[in-house]
């Protein structure tokens, strides 16, 4: 029975009797990567595919996203699924600002990545016009497997991220380019 359970790989460590010593960022990265709580910001059709991802067939919970939190303060990653219109842009930015660091953003679908098929006067041509995006998942709508692949890419990012990244100058410059202080 024990062989059926798949555990995450432990990082290289110095082990002894009852203790295991490794570096902070590896352990914290491992913990963060395997318990990413998503904030589903689902606006349109990609939201329905996101619902399929959350349902039992393509379970998102087994990747650690057991609690889709709708409160930005308690969420780790912002899943923007669906078209963002210009009217919705300030609201999306406000939700992003309310999230606490570390936070990751996944743009699910063609509309969130670049405006999709709607090159019109009322649609924001991609959410990276207003907030920094970490992972883009193309598709219209992307299959749940693609969304899971996007989440796994964020897991890779979270696992390998340096602890100081959010305080670096480069990151502050990135945020300033979106006029986020």
């Amino acid at each position: 029975m024990a062989s059926d359970i798949k555990l995450a790989e432990a990082p290289p460590s110095y082990d002894g009797a009852g203790f295991s010593a490794t570096s902070f960022d590896k352990i914290i990265g491992l913990a963060r990567a395997n318990s990413l709580w998503p904030l589903p910001f689902a606006t349109s059709c990609c939201g329905i595919e996101f619902m399929s991802t959350m349902a039992s067939h393509y379970d998102l919970a087994r990747f650690g996203s057991e609690r889709p939190s709708f409160s930005p303060r308690q969420a780790d990653m912002l899943l923007v699924a669906g078209t963002i219109a210009k009217k919705m842009g300030p609201i999306l930015k406000q939700v992003y600002l309310q999230m606490a660091e570390p936070r990751w953003v996944i743009a699910i679908g063609a509309c969130a990545s670049s405006g999709g098929i709607f090159d019109t006067y009322s649609v924001l041509q991609g959410i990276d016009r207003i907030i920094p995006v970490d992972v883009y998942v193309p598709g219209c709508p992307p299959r749940p497997e693609q969304i899971l692949d996007g989440v796994m890419q964020v897991q890779e990012l979270a696992k390998n991220e340096s602890l100081r990244r959010r305080n670096t100058e480069e990151y502050t410059k990135l945020l300033n380019s979106y006029s986020i202080q």
Binding site: A42, S44, T120
Partner: protein, 410 residues
């Protein structure tokens, strides 16, 4: 009563401070655009007197994608992809409705087999739409189990869509003049297997909810609307049928051989949330009936109309026949000779009468295309329906009305 206690409290205060003034103030609650994932984005600003809702003001347009303006640029068959994304929970219905509108304009007669296949796909889409609505209504009252059980059936419906047209959600199914390919044996087998299994799952779902005391306490007598008010507000579809009016476009203006099938129209009595839930459940049973009749009596014949100037000719002919080659070229380039005229065609969507008003000026794209979207029209009644009720009732009413944001804003 609360006011008496307040009076007593004010009398106990030292005389210099005077009595405390209590003003009855209304709270403004922003049931804002970012809903928990499932309903779509539209905003309700509610004025509440404690727990009771006094009035509400709605803001929509957070996902306005200018479909009608885009449609003035695209050739007729490219607009199908736009119609997918209106009511995205049941895209085949939108697609077929659009194809039928164009066929009405062009005067194309679709053979029986294609019509039956269209009916099968539209009824599967209707099942899919009602599954989401009822499942999410359960989730909003706190019952996640029903949603998970029922979502599994939606995955099976997605498998059938994939077999027929290649996509899961935004299907772009069918062509002007019929379907793009015949139903493969796998698709027919999957549909035949779906019907008994779906009946079992639906029975299980109904056993969880229909006579569940907690669920009934949440939804019975909540958000009722009378038939006259519903008609005045332009309700159609399951919401209107729950209020007692048996208006169904499939019966009143039959299209695509619906007159060949035998099915009932479920009608409610008081138009409250429980009636809407039950009407949708019963409509799923009726859709299964139609599916069974359609798949068992599928007529032989061609799956596309003999209209080479609108429907791509078969590839053999394109390689050998000069005329077919010219038609193929013209269709792919988007130059369809549409007659000048205006047509209005309505189909029974998952939420009601989905209408397409098409004005053509003879060019390759419509001159004006307007979608009569049922969600947009009946959502106006929401503040009236939740007046005097609590916030939790408002959530349940909104979810039972099945407002889909893509159809609201178009």
């Amino acid at each position: 009563m609360v006011s008496e206690e307040l009076d007593i409290a004010s009398r106990n205060l030292p005389a210099e401070q005077g009595p405390v003034q209590y003003v009855n103030e209304l709270t403004t609650l922003n049931l804002g655009p970012t809903h928990p994932a499932t309903h779509g984005i539209f905003q309700n600003i509610l004025q509440m007197d404690g727990e009771k809702i006094v009035s509400g003001e709605q803001t929509i347009g957070y996902i306005h994608r200018a479909f009608e303006k885009i449609a003035e640029r695209r050739p007729f068959y490219q607009i199908t992809t736009l119609t997918d994304r209106m009511n995205y929970c049941s895209s085949p219905i939108n697609n077929m409705g659009w194809h039928m509108t164009v066929e009405k304009l062009l005067g194309v007669e679709v053979p029986k087999r294609a019509q039956y296949i269209r009916v099968i796909m539209m009824e599967l889409a209707r099942l899919s739409d009602h599954l989401i609505c009822n499942g999410i209504l359960g989730v909003d009252t706190g019952a996640f189990t029903g949603f998970l059980y029922i979502y599994q059936e939606r995955e099976h419906i997605y498998e059938i869509y994939e077999e027929v047209c290649g996509a899961r959600l935004t299907t772009n199914m069918g062509r002007i003049g019929g379907m793009e390919r015949d139903l493969s044996p796998t698709a027919i087998r999957k549909i035949k297997e779906l019907i008994p299994r779906f009946r079992k799952v639906l029975t299980e779902f109904e056993n969880l909810f229909n006579r569940n005391r907690i669920f009934m306490d949440r939804v019975v007598n909540v958000g009722g609307i009378s038939a006259e008010r519903a008609l005045s507000y332009g309700f159609t579809g399951p919401n209107l049928r729950a209020a007692g009016v048996d208006y169904d476009v499939r019966v009143m203006n039959p299209y695509s051989s619906y007159q060949d099938f035998e099915f009932d129209i479920p009608v409610g009595q008081s138009g409250d949330t429980y009636d809407r839930f039950m009407v949708r459940n019963e409509e799923m049973w009726q859709s299964l009936r139609i599916l069974e009749q359609a798949i068992n009596n599928l007529p032989e014949g061609s799956y596309f109309a003999d209209a080479p100037q609108y429907y791509l000719p078969p590839k053999q002919e394109v390689y050998q026949n000069m005329e077919a080659l010219i038609y193929h070229f013209k269709i792919v380039m988007g130059e369809i000779d549409a007659p000048v005229g205006e047509v209005y065609h309505a189909v029974e969507g998952g939420n009601g009468e989905l209408g397409f008003y098409l004005i053509s000026d003879g060019g390759r794209a419509p001159y004006r295309l307007h979608f009569r979207r049922p969600c947009f029209i009946y959502y106006q009644a929401f503040p009236e329906m939740c007046k005097g009720l609590t916030l939790s009732d408002a959530i349940v009413i909104m979810s039972s009305m099945n407002v889909i944001a893509g159809e609201l804003d178009a």
